[in-house]
């Protein structure tokens, strides 16, 4: 009997300690409170709208999660979305083909990601600085090219891409789910996924273990940019135009949600499931604030608070790890005695 209770206790404790359960509880509390204040929150229309909104940033966030897990960062994702919109709408308007428009943007993603990857792996520039640079470059280039004016799409089918539905579910949500599944598989079942964790965990040790450090980093930057560009196309599709200001500030929102989801900024620790829940929480929060008629400026402030809370959570987590090490130490001491 006693054994059983202690088992149950340890299971409970395990659940309490697992990041994901904490996040899920936070998400449920947030949803219930929002529902009680604004019952419209749980209407089908609002749910689908919110999910579509979340999907757009999540598709970009999946790629960024890989980059952060590998111990790097990409601040240029927001600017990349502007480039994605411009490339896709330009190709769309000249070829009238939605498929070609998407492919052109994805190809641009390969190029843009490779540039980030090369700067980080070959020039050995700290990725924070490197992508701060490319962030400014892509944004500036978008402004220069468009003269800060948006480019309208001339093909109606393009808009269907992001705003259409499959049954009751928005296209964008379906795409996000498919991409999530692919990334989940990649991280958990492939050598590439394992290498991402390993390199993010200890890059030096990875080099000494003969692992392809530079190649993996190149790959995560390219995957990250391709996904970001795809999300950028969806954004352009939803607005039926390419905006040179598209994606401004996106990097901060996405990075904050990923950290909130338990991914360590220093790399090597975290899961795609956690990161996704983090993105859902931030999306729901935004929706809740909008429903409550909180101005977008106040939303910015609340987002800032959440970012700081997320990082504080990260610090607390590390302290807990340190504490558990100490208690192990005490156990070891008793054993020795």
């Amino acid at each position: 009997m006693t054994v059983k209770t202690s088992n149950r206790q340890s299971l409970l404790r395990k659940f309490g300690q697992s990041e994901i359960s904490v996040l899920l509880v936070a998400l449920i509390v947030l949803s219930v409170v929002t529902y009680l204040l604004k019952p419209v929150f749980l209407s089908q229309r609002n749910i689908m709208n919110t999910l579509r909104q979340i999907s757009l940033s999540a598709i970009c966030g999946f790629g960024l999660t890989l980059i952060i897990l590998a111990g790097e960062i990409d601040l240029s994702v927001g600017s990349q979305q502007a480039v994605a919109g411009i490339v896709s709408v330009l190709v769309l308007n000249s070829t009238k083909s939605v498929l070609l428009a998407i492919l052109a943007a994805l190809l641009a993603g390969v190029v843009v990601g490779a540039i980030n990857g090369l700067i980080v792996t070959k020039l050995k520039i700290n990725s924070l600085i490197a992508t701060l640079g490319t962030m400014a470059i892509w944004r500036g280039a978008s402004m220069v090219y468009t003269q800060a004016v948006s480019i309208q799409s001339s093909v109606d089918a393009f808009q269907q891409l992001a705003t259409g539905f499959i049954g009751p579910i928005p296209n964008a949500v379906v795409m996000a789910v498919v991409i999530f599944a692919a990334i989940y598989f990649l991280l958990n079942y492939t050598t590439f996924g394992r290498y991402i964790y390993v390199i993010g965990g200890n890059q030096d040790a990875a080099r000494f273990a003969g692992l392809p450090v530079a190649r993996v980093k190149m790959a995560v930057y390219i995957i990250g940019s391709v996904l970001t560009m795809f999300a950028g196309v969806l954004l352009a599709s939803r607005m039926a135009s390419a905006q040179p200001t598209a994606g401004t500030g996106l990097e901060m929102i996405v990075i904050a949600s990923i950290i909130l989801g338990g991914v360590s900024l220093s790399g090597g620790i975290g899961s795609i499931v956690g990161a996704t829940i983090g993105m859902v929480i931030l999306g729901v929060l935004q929706n809740a604030l909008t429903l409550m008629d909180v101005s977008s400026f106040w939303q910015d402030i609340s987002r800032g608070v959440v970012i700081i809370l997320a990082v504080a959570l990260d610090v607390l987590r590390k302290e807990r790890v340190a504490k558990s090490l100490i208690s192990d130490q005490k156990l070891a001491r008793e054993e020795v005695k």
Binding site: Y189, T190, T191, F192, R194, Y195, Y197, V198, G201, N202, D204, A205, A206, R207, F208, A209, G210, L211, P212, G268, I269, L325, D328, Q329, A332, R333, V336
Partner: protein, 494 residues
């Protein structure tokens, strides 16, 4: 006894996860005495130093320095100022001047402005005390290791340290530099400074110290006047058994060259030529900073290869690619377990399978079943003690982490050459002898092993052939039966 004790330690114990680093240690230091501390790596010397200097707090016991209980001090986070430690790896700030280093944290200041004239005058005084005749304005990075060491000593004196701890001060010094260091030590002694002297070089220990305390496995084996001891006695007390028992006896068949290195040069090593045969353990001896680790880094492709040729089983190894080195069957266990070895946040299983992961994957998808069963087997085979394979590796003891790092390469079916750099650094004696047994079994099974070690007993006990390095070059080659400690040391210094 009416002795004037400057430092007195009673019953100190210190625990780390899985290891009892110090077990009821008593130690004392008379004012103006040189007290040597000897013991093998992992005997607890550095743990004791760190407790005395306030880096660690002890779990049990008391420690009085100059009548003050330092446990009270260190638990508030202050580094103990009465104790100056001159560490093996010198931590002078290289881009600063000699004067700034010597008066570190004690600059003469008026109204918040540094009085530079005064700085140089005071610094010159301290330099004179340690017999160093250089300008206080010299940049420290331009000095030799011996000079840097004296700077550290001057720094300790300037901070009014009552106790100076020297950790392997002579490991990188030439004989003339050693004798001038000894002059400084004797002078400090006559001025009432007490010194704890840590060294592996037993002749020096017997020459310079008044008393010697021998540590083994975290316990004090004995304390005696230096005049009452000889070298053989010391060794027996340190090792606790005859040397023969520690190292497994085996007769190995040595045949065909597996690794051939010709004229290897990099930034830090010059013209290194050697070979290793199947079933052979080849040792690399030398002083700290002799270029042995740098040699392996150039070999393995971590550092850029400037010249030279490396053949693995007769096939040339492309330069500057650790991946290629691994693919051709070279494995490297680094001396720096924490920074360059383990993945602290990952499980024991993931740590072991990481280098050979490709052999469990088909078009990039890992077969977790095959990975798991292989890891399970090797963990059992090498008796790595871990609660489960999912345990994160940083909770294992140092010895078990080291065994896991060996397992990381042994699990690779393609392994031909294993390079181990200081394989027993910082692990306890039991794990040490286990690692010796594993290495000689592997050699018996035909693996070629390169072993770098600063412990001469280890090199002499384990290796079939020994190369000695100095300043990035090979200065000698010996067969096991034709080498002794003195010969190795001679080649390492001269």
């Amino acid at each position: 006894m009416s002795q004037d004790y400057i430092l007195s330690v009673k019953n100190i114990c210190k625990y780390f996860p899985g290891v009892r680093a110090l077990n009821c240690v008593d130690f004392d230091l008379v004012r103006g005495e040189v007290h040597a501390l000897v013991g093998e790596n992992g005997a607890g010397k550095s743990t004791l130093i760190k407790i005395l200097s306030g880096v660690y707090t002890c779990d049990e016991g008391t420690c009085f320095i100059d009548g003050k209980n330092i446990e009270v001090l260190s638990s508030t986070g202050h580094i103990n100022k009465d104790v100056g430690v001159i560490y093996q790896e010198l931590n002078s700030a290289g881009y600063l001047t000699v004067a700034e280093n010597v008066l570190f944290g004690k600059m003469p200041v008026r109204h918040g402005i540094v009085q530079w004239k005064e700085v140089y005058r005071q610094a010159a005084e301290y330099l004179d005390m340690v017999g160093l005749r250089i300008s206080p304005k010299t940049k420290v990075q331009n000095l030799s290791i011996a000079q840097k060491q004296l700077i550290e000593i001057a720094k300790a004196i300037s901070m009014d340290a009552k106790v100076i701890i020297m950790d392997e001060p002579t490991s990188a010094l030439s004989p003339t530099e050693i004798s001038s260091l000894f002059k400084v030590i004797r002078r400090l002694k006559s001025e009432g400074v007490s010194i704890i002297y840590i060294s592996h070089k037993l002749d020096e220990v017997l020459e310079i110290s008044d008393r010697v305390t021998i540590l083994r496995d975290g316990c004090v084996v004995g304390t005696a006047g230096a005049g009452e001891l000889d070298k053989e006695q010391l060794i027996t007390m340190m090792v606790g058994r005859e040397m023969k028992e520690l190292f497994p006896v085996c007769h190995r068949d040595v045949h065909d060259r597996v690794l051939e290195v010709r004229g290897l040069s990099s930034d830090k090593v010059t013209d290194v030529t050697f070979h290793v045969n199947r079933g052979e353990i080849v040792g690399f001896s030398g002083l700290m900073g002799a270029g042995r680790t740098e040699m392996t880094n150039a070999l393995y492709g971590i550092d850029k290869r400037a010249a030279g040729e490396i053949l693995v089983g007769g096939v040339p190894l492309p330069p500057d690619s650790p991946q290629a080195a691994k693919r051709m069957g070279i494995g490297l266990v680094t001396e720096n377990r924490k920074e360059q070895g383990i993945f602290a946040s990952l499980s024991v299983k993931q740590n072991i399978s990481v280098a050979a992961l490709a052999q469990y994957a088909k078009s990039g998808v890992i077969s977790r079943k095959r990975e798991g069963s292989d890891v399970e087997n090797i963990v059992r085979e090498m008796s790595i003690k871990t609660p489960s394979l999912q345990q994160t590796i940083n909770k294992l003891s140092g010895g078990n982490q080291q065994k896991a790092l060996l397992a990381r390469w042994l699990i690779d079916r393609n392994l031909k050459v294993l390079i181990v750099d200081e394989p027993t650094r910082g692990i306890d004696v039991a794990a040490k002898s286990e690692i010796y047994r594993i290495l000689s079994r592997l050699a018996g099974e035909g693996l070629a092993i390169v072993m770098i070690s600063s412990e001469m007993t280890e090199i002499l006990g384990m290796c079939d052939r020994i190369y000695v390095m100095k300043d990035g070059r090979i200065t000698g080659e010996f067969h096991k039966d034709a080498a002794d400690e003195r010969m190795l040391l001679e080649k390492a210094i001269s």
